[in-house]
């Protein structure tokens, strides 16, 4: 599964999760194949991002999980002595892992 911006969505991609409105109403169900027309409709409904199956959008700058975890470690390197920030780091790392697993 990959989270993408609605601007990156295109013909033939399959929704990996329900698309919901802000109030939690399902606008478009999981498993639906996207078409240009459907993407336009979702844009009009102000959907900003969707989850699609596989990994259809290739981003040259995209990092591997290992690289991402390394970066997080680096960013927090100078605040290791501040417990709440250590907790923040741990949580951000867990989220990075979870985002790849799904």
């Amino acid at each position: 599964m990959q989270q993408i911006l609605i601007a990156q969505a295109g013909d033939g991609m399959i929704l990996a999760r329900d698309v919901e409105s802000e109030e939690g109403r399902v606008l478009c169900g999981k498993g639906t194949e996207l078409s240009a027309c459907l993407v336009e409709r979702l844009k009009k409904m102000e959907v900003t991002h969707v989850a699609v199956e596989g990994h259809p959008v290739v981003d040259e700058n995209e990092k591997t999980l290992k690289e991402e975890l390394f970066d997080i470690e680096q960013r927090f390197k100078r605040v290791k002595h501040i417990p709440p920030l250590v907790h923040l780091k741990k949580r951000i790392m867990e989220r990075a892992v979870k985002a790849r697993e799904e």
Partner: protein, 296 residues
């Protein structure tokens, strides 16, 4: 550092010649917001004179940064629903928006992200004007833009120092200029006649202990800056998460559970930030290719 040189930087940054001024409308609206006899229609009329700003204002009102529950389609509705003061801080955001998005997309993403965290934290704390704190988060690094525009050579030296000596931008600025972007931001905010509610969080975002009146707002922006850097929305080669002030921590009373919930809440909203910056980048590319065509 030589005093004369330092004085020169200080004067240049205090004068600020290259940054656009805030539209005269902001001063006018500030006066109107203070006058109890001002009507919604009068205010709407003044704002709608600047079409572009009015459009940006509505776009901002309906974006996730402020997170109002319903869609707001007209200026008058926005004024009635949000009140004069909120509209005033939104106008300030919308004007500064314009200045910043042209300058530095990465800094802009960092600023938008910080605004998102500030808004989430302010709402959790039950602060009465969360929009004001979002605005403060959005413009907390405006001093960096001023340094870049007024002292481009020194700005490059600062970048180089951050990269080569692996120090924070804040430290490099102090080394090279003898002052930092928080202080410069304060001067600029004062020059623009922004309220103290916005000035202190800008000048104290690296050390909220310095705040006299706006301690809580300064602590929120301080924390917002830390969280958003932790999530990877930094600025240039200065990638390190800055230390968190103990005092800010006590003021905000943040627990481990709070951190989890805050991360949950901001994650979705950050997609909006990505969408926004993508939009800006494509607009810039379109403008650039248009220029190229015209050049031929």
């Amino acid at each position: 550092m030589e005093e004369a040189k330092k004085e020169h930087f200080r004067r240049t940054l205090r004068d600020i010649k290259n940054l656009p001024t805030l539209p005269g409308m902001v001063t006018k609206l500030t006066a109107m917001a203070e006058d109890p006899d001002t009507t919604t229609e009068q205010m709407g009329k003044v704002i709608s004179k600047d079409h572009i700003l009015a459009a940006k204002l509505l776009r901002l009102v309906n974006s996730a940064f402020y997170g109002f529950p319903q869609r707001i389609s007209s200026l008058n509705n926005a004024i009635i629903l949000l009140g004069f003061n909120v509209i005033k801080s939104l106008i300030i955001s919308a004007s500064i928006f314009e200045i910043m998005e042209d300058q530095d997309v990465e800094l802009w993403e960092h600023s938008l992200g910080c605004a998102v965290v500030c808004s989430v934290v302010a709402k959790r704390l039950g602060i009465s004007d969360p929009e004001e704190i979002s605005t403060a988060g959005l413009i907390h690094d405006i001093g960096k833009v001023a340094i870049k525009m007024e002292l481009p050579e020194e700005y490059e030296l600062i970048n180089k120092m951050v990269l080569e000596e692996k120090v924070s931008r804040f430290a490099a600025e102090r080394q090279i200029l003898g002052l930092d972007h928080a202080e410069v931001g304060k001067w600029l905010a004062k020059k623009w006649n922004l309220p103290n509610k916005l000035i202190e969080p800008i000048s104290c975002h690296h050390d909220p202990r310095l705040a006299k009146e706006e301690q809580l707002s300064s602590a929120v922006v301080h924390f917002g800056n830390i969280v958003i850097r932790g999530m990877g929305y930094g600025h240039g080669d200065d990638k390190w998460v800055p230390p968190m002030s103990q005092r800010a921590f006590r003021l905000l009373e943040i627990s481990a559970v709070d951190i989890d919930e805050i991360l949950d809440e901001i994650e979705d909203k950050l997609w909006d930030v990505k969408g926004f910056s993508l939009e800006i980048q494509s607009e810039q590319q379109a403008a650039a290719s248009e220029n190229n065509c015209n050049g031929k």
